[in-house]
């Protein structure tokens, strides 16, 4: 019996001493005091030193995109650290290109705030906020795609550019134990500051899509942050070529609302790909756009039309329809949204048609 007590006492004693040492070290040695982060030479944050740049910025409501949550495995949280970041760490190297390193680009989840820093982030990130909202509309537009309208309930307004995306946050729900967030493009008009529209497809086993399709109903509270992204309608007078498949229609809708509501009279053609007639959606909106926008044409194309659908329109992939209907013109801009294979083949085709690569903008789903 005494033996047991001695064993427990010795192990406890050693563990206590070590725990005490580490706690003291954490409190005194790893205490970096207050540090200043100067952002884009204008804004200044005062933060508690010692934690990573990413978490310091996020806790000050500056939302740098990060898909992996700071584990250093996605490489999204890049920002320019002009001073105070120390040398590039071995853990960052695989995500930084040579020109990144030359330009002081770092992974903000790996850089720790130990001294005063000067950093640069894209200006639009200042617009990124965390929003609380409630589901106002939730309807199935196809058997696998839901349309969601989220009304912002915390009194804030969302300002974004047509084509940008937000990150929707799913709290833990039965079957998923941790909070997850995923990016979804905004489908609403940029002039609507009090609500957002999302178009969310169901993916078998997808954590967020399962949440939206199986657990979320009208009136529920949700949270999201945004807007993000450099995919948005450019301010030019070029002809607009819009290409999307499935839920990729979301940012295109926002772009079309932008054209209609702001009276922008640019020639626009929207190539939309789906499998069967059941997978087409927002058809009323499309015919509304065709009525309201004099130079707009909607060209849906089905890859697998069923005989009973009696489909009269285009058959094949979007690239087939584009091959047929798209007339090359030197003054064109293309906006694509969809899966990686669709984007890759469409970009190839557009380049062959003569649209320069820097006029092709896309938002690729993973």
């Amino acid at each position: 019996m005494t033996n047991i007590w001695i064993t427990v006492a010795v192990i406890t004693g050693i563990a206590t001493v070590l725990a005490l040492l580490l706690t003291l070290a954490d409190a005194f040695i790893a205490d970096y005091g207050e540090r200043r982060i100067k952002i884009n030479k204008e804004k200044e944050l005062v933060v508690e030193g010692g934690s990573t740049l990413l978490s310091s910025l996020v806790s000050n409501q500056l939302f740098i995109p990060s898909a992996c949550g700071g584990k250093g495995s996605c490489g999204y949280c890049k920002c320019k650290v002009n001073s105070g970041g120390g040398p590039v760490l071995a853990t960052e190297l695989s995500y930084l290109s040579e020109s990144d390193i030359k330009n002081n680009v770092r992974l903000s989840c790996q850089v720790k705030v130990k001294e005063d820093m000067e950093i640069e982030v894209p200006e639009e990130l200042f617009n990124v906020k965390q929003f609380k909202a409630a589901v106002e509309i939730s309807k199935d537009v196809t058997p696998k795609i839901k349309f969601l309208r989220l009304k912002i309930t915390d009194g804030q307004e969302i300002k974004f550019k047509a084509g940008q995306y937000i990150q929707l946050i799913a709290p833990p729900y039965p079957g998923n134990q941790e909070e997850v967030y995923r990016a979804y493009s905004l489908a609403s008009y940029t002039g609507n500051l009090s609500f957002i529209d999302l178009v969310i497809g169901y993916v078998e086993g997808g954590l967020l899509t399962t949440y939206v399709h199986k657990h979320l109903s009208v009136g529920d509270n949700v949270a999201f942050n945004g807007p993000y992204g450099d995919f948005y309608l450019q301010d030019t007078d070029a002809e607009v070529v819009l290409v999307a498949v499935g839920t990729g229609m979301a940012p295109i809708l926002s772009i079309l609302y932008e054209l209609k509501n702001k009276g922008i009279n640019r020639k626009a053609t929207f190539f939309f790909g789906a499998r069967t007639i059941d997978d087409l959606f927002m058809l009323e909106e499309m015919s509304m756009f065709e009525r309201e926008l004099p130079n707009f044409k909607f060209i849906p194309t089905l890859s697998k039309p069923q005989p009973e659908d009696n489909w009269q329109g285009e058959v094949g992939r979007v690239t087939d329809a584009m091959q047929k209907h798209l007339k090359a013109d030197s003054n064109q801009e293309a906006y694509l949204c969809g899966s990686a294979p669709m984007i890759n083949s469409t970009v190839e085709m557009l380049k062959k048609k003569g649209i320069p690569e820097d006029k092709i903008y896309y938002d690729k789903f993973d």
């Binding site: 001695i6 064993t7 010795v10 192990i11 050693i14 563990a15 070590l18 040492l21 580490l22 070290a25 954490d26 040695i29 790893a30 970096y32 120390g86 040398p87 760490l89 071995a90 853990t91 130990k114």
Partner: protein
């Protein structure tokens, strides 16, 4: 057991009883980090430092705490806790006060917590009943031996980048084969000294 001169233990730990090449301990970071001479030298220094430090601490804990209470069988768990805490403490101190050292060496410290060469040295020290001075010599020697092996490997692997290696053997495969050849070469030292 006859008293062995600490210097003999020191040299034996580097050449004839090399942690990697004759005991095959600490292979994980040996294979993962031996791509560049510079980084492997950094890791080697960190291993040497931690080995020496933990050997001293574990020696004291073992002989002044575990042996008096006849709790020798607890040495595994106690050594592991001490190593982990020591590494973390060192990491904090280096990060705070020696930033340059931290960037070259400190980021490897978390890798070492689970390096079995470190636990191996502490256990060998107990099994072979080394005295305090012998233990220190053994700790430093093992660390230097580990460094020698990983730096040599990194040198070879830097050359290998230009060599046409069959696809299936690239990376860890060829590294393990080279490790074997290096171990064979190190047998050549075995006539000099021998410790068990």
């Amino acid at each position: 057991m006859p008293e062995i001169n600490p210097f003999v233990i020191f040299f034996a730990a580097i050449f004839t009883s090399n942690m990697i090449l004759s005991n095959f301990l600490g292979m994980c970071s040996f294979i993962a980090v031996s791509k560049e001479i510079k980084t492997s030298l950094g890791l080697g220094q960190a291993v040497t430092f931690v080995l020496t430090g933990t050997t001293v601490i574990n020696y004291l804990i073992y002989h002044y705490l575990l042996v008096p209470f006849s709790l020798e069988y607890l040495r595994f768990i106690v050594f592991i806790i001490t190593i982990a805490a020591f590494v973390q403490l060192v990491e904090m101190i280096v990060e705070r006060y020696l930033p340059n050292l931290y960037y070259s060496l400190g980021i490897f410290l978390p890798l070492i917590t689970v390096n079995c060469a470190i636990l191996g040295v502490s256990l060998f020290m107990v099994i072979r009943s080394y005295s305090f001075v012998q233990s220190i010599a053994f700790g430093i020697g093992s660390g230097l031996g580990w460094t020698l092996a990983i730096v040599a490997m990194a040198g070879i692997r830097q050359k290998l980048k230009k060599a046409p290696i069959p696809k299936g053997l690239q990376g860890p495969g060829i590294t393990l084969i080279i490790t074997g050849l290096m171990a064979l070469a190190f047998i050549g030292f075995s006539g000099i000294v021998r410790i068990q």
